[in-house]
């Protein structure tokens, strides 16, 4: 016994310390080795290209020309006088302003109905979620048929009740709304699944407690329990929905190519055209920087809201 006491106060701690720092060094080496491939790939495929885009945005680089020079802020000056680009920013904002709120509130409403309903839960979830799992380019083609001005089922149905249906995707005053319908149809299911998970996680007792405290109407219960408890889910769904609608591209490329008359020109489509069709890489890079700035601002807003949010869980 005295022996052990002696050793535990004596030289052992030093040895243990040395051993520990040895182990620490080994752990640090293993950690670095294990994450090295990921670090290199992040640098190669994310950090480096982003730096390159920012740099290229200050040049007049065009693919196919051997040399390029720095032109300072010329691209940005040109951008804000470029009517196509301004139109494209505006259209993207309008599209996002329709699709994001619609897909959030439709999803929330449907999720609450499904949650309250006993039967058909999984059937409804499947039905609304199916568009998320479907190839958007393919389903866009189906929507093109549905929207066809003369032979399309939508206008045929409208004609039956005496309404002369619009040329949905072919007229400049309706094309953005038609694309928004497709956008909402495609994104509701995703939000719905998230809201359903959020709703299921709300403890039942809270509702009975609210009822005892005088929350008699369904609206009161929603306002006092459901909405605040869903806060984090709603915030996440909102961020994702806004970002995804700012990134609209597939339907535009497939169905309208930005037309008619640039009425459906959206941000990513304009970048695609400038950069990969006209090959004006420098100019398109400046556009990309604007696109990235929008994403950064959106994320920043999300963080700010998240910080202020009260957490109930």
């Amino acid at each position: 016994m005295p022996d052990m006491a002696a050793t535990s106060i004596g030289p052992v701690p030093v040895a243990a310390k040395a051993r520990r720092s040895d182990a620490e060094r080994q752990e640090a080496r293993a950690g670095l080795l294990l994450s090295l491939p990921a670090i290199l790939l992040v640098l190669l495929f994310i950090i480096l290209p982003v730096a390159a885009v920012i740099l290229l945005g200050f040049t007049n680089f065009e693919l196919g020309y051997p040399s390029f020079e720095f032109v300072g802020l010329d691209n940005y000056v040109e951008l804000f006088g470029d009517r196509t680009f301004m139109k494209s920013l505006w259209n993207t904002a309008v599209y996002a302003a329709i699709v994001a709120p619609m897909s959030i509130f439709l999803a929330l409403g449907l999720a609450m109905l499904i949650e309250a309903e006993g039967i058909g839960r999984s059937f409804f979830r499947t039905a609304y979620f199916l568009p998320v799992a479907s190839l958007l380019v393919a389903m866009a083609t189906v929507w093109q048929y549905l929207f066809h001005p003369t032979i399309g089922p939508i206008n045929t149905m409208l004609a039956m009740i005496g309404i002369n249906g619009p040329n949905w995707l072919g007229a400049s005053n309706t094309v953005l709304y038609s694309l928004s319908i497709i956008g909402v149809w495609q994104s509701v299911g995703f939000n719905l699944v998230l809201f359903l998970a959020g709703l299921t996680a709300i403890p039942r007792e809270l509702y009975s407690a609210a009822e005892i405290d005088g929350a008699k109407s369904g609206w009161d219960r929603f306002r006092l329990v459901t909405w605040p408890m869903l806060g984090p889910t709603t915030l996440f769904v909102t961020t994702i929905s806004v970002i995804n609608s700012v990134k609209v591209f597939e339907t535009v490329k497939t169905l309208t190519e930005g037309g008619p008359n640039k009425a459906s020109e959206v941000l990513l489509y304009t970048i695609y055209q400038e950069g990969f069709v006209y090959l004006r890489v420098g100019y398109a890079s400046a556009m990309t920087v604007v696109f990235l700035a929008i994403l950064v601002v959106l994320m920043f807003i999300q963080y700010r809201v998240q910080d202020k949010q009260v957490h109930y869980s």
Binding site: S134, H148, W185
Partner: protein, 278 residues
């Protein structure tokens, strides 16, 4: 009020849900119906869901012959599979190291991951395209896969999941003499299947559907992925041959839809998990 009684509220609720479901499923109904119609049928009676002349065989034959469907589907599967395997193999060790090991680069890596989450392929596409063009790598599986070899989202998701794993499990494995690689392969991975499944679904859905990047780096039909192939098909069809178009659409959408219908529960769990952790 028994829960099974059909009160007015329930009838209203069920009606809204059913009508909504019908609206959401309508495109599929019309797709299946129109894929079986002859051209004349489509022009005269778009609301008859049952084709008057059974034209499925003709339309499918047309869709199958205009664009090489097996190639498209094969490319889609190969590209998604390669992306998924590389992403998982790269992300899991990194996430494990960040969650359970102390090393100096961990903090910097966390910053890189948070920054990376912000940057979609659309933002990096221009320089990557220029680089691939310079090294003559356009029109290859390499070009389709390489930019997605790293998924910061994957690292983020696995990191959250690994942090919740008990340290004792790992210590015990180390005491048994396992190396860090051994710990990952025999302790971490077997316990991380829910996260791996969730991430797989997320990754495959995203890359099976992606049009932007394939459109940029592929101009050769031999490397076309399903969305790109459908775009070619539409260009070649150039007109109102909706029968053939719907048949092509049906062929191309069905693999993922079938996968979803079979593994529905996993899909929903996956989306919930990736959603709530992301």
């Amino acid at each position: 009020m028994s829960p099974n009684a059909f009160t007015l509220g329930r009838i209203v609720r069920l009606s809204i849900l059913s009508l909504g479901a019908l609206l959401f499923l309508a495109p599929y109904i019309f797709m299946i119906s129109t894929a079986g119609k002859a051209q004349s049928d489509i022009f005269t009676s778009s609301l008859n869901l049952i084709p008057q002349h059974w034209f499925y065989a003709e339309n499918f034959a047309k869709a199958w012959s205009r664009v090489h469907m097996p190639t498209l589907l094969f490319n889609g599967v190969i590209v998604c599979l390669m992306i998924l395997v590389i992403q998982v193999v790269i992300a899991i060790p990194c996430a494990y190291a960040m969650a359970k090991l102390k090393f100096r680069a961990a903090k910097a890596m966390m910053v890189l991951v948070m920054l990376g989450l912000l940057v979609p392929i659309h933002a990096t596409a221009l320089p990557l395209y220029v680089a691939f063009d310079r090294v003559g790598a356009l029109n290859s599986y390499m070009a389709l896969v390489a930019p997605f070899s790293i998924s910061v989202f994957g690292i983020f998701l696995f990191l959250q999941f690994f942090r919740a794993m008990p340290d004792d499990l790992i210590h015990a494995a180390r005491l048994d003499g396992m190396s860090e690689i051994g710990v990952i392969a025999r302790v971490i991975v077997p316990n991380a299947w829910p996260a791996i499944t969730a991430f797989s679904i997320f990754s495959v859905v995203a890359h099976w559907n992606d049009l932007y990047w394939p459109l940029i780096v592929v101009s050769d039909q031999a490397y076309a992925t399903p969305p790109l192939g459908l775009l070619y098909f539409r260009a070649a069809e150039a007109g109102d041959d909706y029968g053939a178009l719907m048949a092509a659409t049906l062929i191309i959408t069905s693999p993922l839809v079938a996968a979803f219908l079979i593994a529905q529960k996993r899909f929903v769990e996956g989306i919930t998990m990736t959603g709530l952790k992301g």
